[in-house]
Amino acid sequence: MSATTFSWQRFRAMLVKESLQILRDPSTFLIAFVLPMILLFLFGYAISLDPTHIRIGIALEDSGAPALSLANSFERSRWFQVTGRRSVATLEDELTAGRIRGIVVIPADFSRRFRTTGEVAQIQVITDGALPNTAAFVAGYAEGVRASWQAAQLPQAALPVALAHRYWFNPELASRYFLIPGSIAIVMTMIGSLLTALVVAREWERGTMEAIMATPIGMPEFLATKVLPYFLLGLGSMALCTLLAIFLFGVPFRGSALGITALAAAFLVPSLGQGLLVSAVTKNQFVASQVALLSAFLPAMMLSGFLFEISSMPRWIQALSYVVPARYLIPPLQSVFLAGDLWGMFARNIAVLLGFGAVFFTIAIAATRRRIA
């Protein structure tokens, strides 16, 4: 390959060309601005990991005052919607049919045991194991309702230690607060990897790559002009998402604009590098988009801690998650919204992201040679 020196004239010409193409291609705007909004709306309104008003049934087998009082507590709870007091047998049928998600059985000896010191007044909670998440919620919240009812019944002296939960950063435990910052990471992955995965492949497919390669332009120069416009587009889309998150969804924003910009910019480096690499290797838009979805989008969705907690995954999948760049964006992104600028943590994550970027770009440049076959 001839050693071509950098030319500002060529660089500017390619930048102009790339920008014009972005402006004229409606699908770019769709992916950069419309799709993020749809995602945000989905995560903001439609998907919620908070259980409220789970339908349960109560089988009240005791008619004592404590039993009635406990049943009342369940009925008043904001977590549960009690469908009625019936026998265990009827409720079991409803549970099987999926009309209720759990049964609370207050047994016949509940009031007697409650009044007798030294005895434990037990209740039974039956849940639908086919829906493990919901089952865990029902069990957990039922225990909570019972505990607070018990606390109200007994004189304070009887409870030497009262446990008070306090959730930091997200006192309302609204899943939207951590889902929305997370979905910004997903959006950035999409713009960075999916859009750029198409750009070089498109040049190959339309036969323009051959004509471009026959001009004096250097290949690193060529790649740089592919990356820069999408970098700006990515930042623009991030800004849009952040504004929507703050003003439409009311997610608190405790960090700074500088912090979020630095994080987004650092994340775009590996993301664009990965897209470029996919594009340079596949040379085909369809294959490129599939590879980008599988190698960037899905891992960012599943393995970044966005939807599923990494610490509860099998060990080898946890190990795998270390090579997913989004893993290093989501925690600092959630911090910048909910906690504030934590520069120490940001710096570590930014360094890792830039490291990934360097690897991807090095391979992408090596893979884009001035050769047809």
């Binding site: 390959m1 001839s2 030319s7 004239q9 060529r10 500017r12 010409a13 390619m14 102009v16 060309k17 014009l20 193409q21 004229r24 291609d25 339309r206 036969g207 323009t208 051959e210 004509a211 471009i212 390669m213 026959a214 001009t215 004096p216 332009i217 001035r370 050769r371 047809i372 076959a373």
Partner: protein
């Protein structure tokens, strides 16, 4: 002669270790100020050679030099390269494409206005400065591609099949532009499968199957054919049978139909075929005629195929009647406020070949698709094999065999699977299907390829397979859409031998083509331009009409085509 601008010495390039090389020890030289032709059928290695010259491929053996240095290290600001697909950005305008390539090749900004003015002037694209390249017609895209390659006057201009898929008018204009450039001292390499273009180059390198068969002025090769080419004025009706007999004679190496007459090439000089041997009426005029490059090309490849079509021999005889096999009456198709075909009317008698000719975008394909039942006419109607286009679509389609441009076969199915599939969709089953498949496999020599994926076969075999699929159910009508685009003259001759044989069996053929030598095989031609049929008649009638209008002497069909279209433009402007 000046020192060469570029050369390749003993270059060999292989893409698959096992297969034959794409280029096998090829030498070429490109001199400044000359038109150098790179000629050969598809798959000959033309594109590979050009890519080696651009430095985008590296040879396995041999050297490729441009401007005295290896091609991979050449100064890319002084070569102009137009790839087969032009390399244009369809979502950029004409002027944006030009500016991009100007900057990429480092054209000094001061020279830009003058260069752009000159290029837009001579490509006649000034009017379309702000039009997106994707909205240009094929011919205009090609001119813009050329302008982009020339934006900074190159020393070496490499053009990869600039004439493919472009109508004769655009092809001729492009040729003239490039010829003028060569006159200014640029070295031009023009790659082509059109032998009439090759004939006009200063030097020709003839490639076939990766080997160089000839290097030198085309006339050198053509001269060898002196005294071996004859025209037989056999008269319209029996000419196909006469050609069959002629090609079966041992002394005739090649022959084609030229309107009402035949063009025959003999194996030895001066020995004209006799009236007796051809079994034509005594007094039939047989006269020597000037050889052409194509005669020499076919001769160097060992002559054309024999004249009898085994396909036709084993085809059923189509019952004849006075009824036309294809009728188009006032076929019109509009897309929104754009009229793609307007009031097209013709009829084709049974056992005739009818050709639809016209520039790109004139409305040929639209007419063709309406007759196939793929498009519903906005108004007008037609018949195929006696079935009405509107009420009997299914019967229409069942009674025609359709061979599409670019071989619409399934490339990742084997030959056998393709044959089974097409037999199935044409309703052949059981023993009939086995018999039909066995027959075409035998006729087209497909045995050794039966389990090969059809996409990986040589082009000539793909072409045979496409024809095999179209005729398996022995339809009375055949529709051929640019059937031999890109295939070499030998395969094209074999193809037309089959078609001529089928026509003798009573099959009716409708064909669209850009190749004027294919048009010569037609009994009648309809010339379509700007959605209207502007002329119709036998090839000879069209030539005579053009001769009368434009004052041409002994015009070729291409001359006639161009003259008739220019005449139509003049009338339109006058109106």
């Amino acid at each position: 002669m000046d020192a060469p601008l570029a050369c390749a010495r003993a270059v060999t390039k292989r893409f698959a270790a096992a297969g034959p090389p794409a280029l096998d020890a090829v030498d070429i030289e490109i001199a400044p100020g000359r038109m150098t032709g790179l000629v050969g059928p598809d798959g000959a290695g033309k594109t590979t050679l050009i890519r080696l010259l651009t430095g985008l491929l590296v040879p396995d053996r041999g050297t490729v030099e441009v401007g005295g240095v290896p091609a991979t290290a050449q100064d890319r600001s002084v070569i102009g390269y137009m790839p087969q697909r032009f390399g244009l950005y369809e979502d950029l305008s004409v002027i944006e494409n030009l500016s991009l390539y100007a900057d990429l090749r480092g054209l000094p900004p001061a020279e830009r206005p003058e260069n752009f003015r000159r290029l837009l002037g001579f490509t006649d694209l000034e009017r379309f400065r702000t039009r997106l390249a994707g909205r240009l017609s094929g011919g205009m895209k090609q001119k813009l591609g050329l302008a982009c390659a020339l934006v900074r006057t190159p020393k070496l201009l490499l053009l990869d099949e600039p004439g493919v898929g472009v109508d004769p008018i655009s092809r001729r204009e492009l040729w003239k532009m490039v010829r003028d450039l060569a006159g200014e001292g640029i070295g031009v390499l023009w790659s082509t499968a059109y032998l009439d273009e090759a004939e006009r180059c200063d030097t020709v390198f003839l490639l076939n199957g990766g080997r160089l068969l000839h290097a030198g002025p085309p006339a050198e090769l053509t001269q060898r054919m002196d005294g071996r080419v004859f025209r037989v004025y056999a008269g319209g009706t029996g000419r196909r049978e006469v050609l069959e007999r002629a090609l079966n004679l041992s002394e005739v190496s090649d022959g084609t139909i030229q309107g009402a007459s035949l063009r025959l090439v003999t194996r030895t000089q001066g020995a004209a075929p006799t009236v007796d041997a051809l079994q034509v009426p005594a007094g039939t005029r047989i006269a020597p005629t000037a050889p052409r490059f194509e005669d020499a090309f076919v001769d160097i490849l060992g002559g054309g195929p024999p004249g009898t079509s085994t396909l036709a021999q084993r085809y059923r005889t189509i019952p004849q009647s006075g009824e036309p096999a294809i009728i188009a009456s006032g076929l019109t198709r509009r897309f929104g406020d754009f009229t793609a075909a307007s009031n097209i009317s013709f009829s084709v008698g049974r056992g005739q070949i009818f050709g639809l000719l016209g520039p790109n975008g004139a409305g040929k394909s639209t007419t063709f698709k309406m007759l196939c039942g793929l498009l519903t006419p906005t108004s007008g109607n037609g018949q195929v094999a006696g079935f009405d286009l509107r009420s009997g679509r299914a019967e229409c389609r069942q009674s025609l065999g359709y061979m599409a441009q670019k071989f619409s076969l399934y490339g990742d199915l084997s030959v056998r699977q393709n044959l089974n599939f097409y037999a199935g969709i044409y309703g052949l089953a059981g023993g009939v299907q086995r018999e039909a498949i066995g027959r075409v496999v035998d006729i087209f020599h497909l045995q050794s390829y039966l389990d090969t994926n059809s996409g990986t076969m040589p082009l000539g075999f793909k072409q045979r397979l496409a024809l095999a699929c179209a005729v398996m159910h022995q339809p009375p009508v055949l529709f051929l859409d640019e059937p031999t685009s890109g295939v070499d003259p030998i395969v094209r001759r074999e193809f037309w031998t089959h078609i001529n044989g089928l026509v003798e069996r009573g099959v009716t053929v409708l064909v669209t083509t850009h190749f004027m030598d294919e048009a010569e095989y037609c009994d009648r031609i309809g010339l379509i331009y700007r959605a209207e049929q502007i002329a119709a008649g036998t090839p000879d009638e069209l030539k005579q009409a053009a001769a009368a209008q434009a004052g041409l002497k002994d015009p070729t069909l291409e001359d006639a085509f161009i003259a008739l279209i220019e005449e139509s433009d003049r009338k339109r402007e006058a109106a």
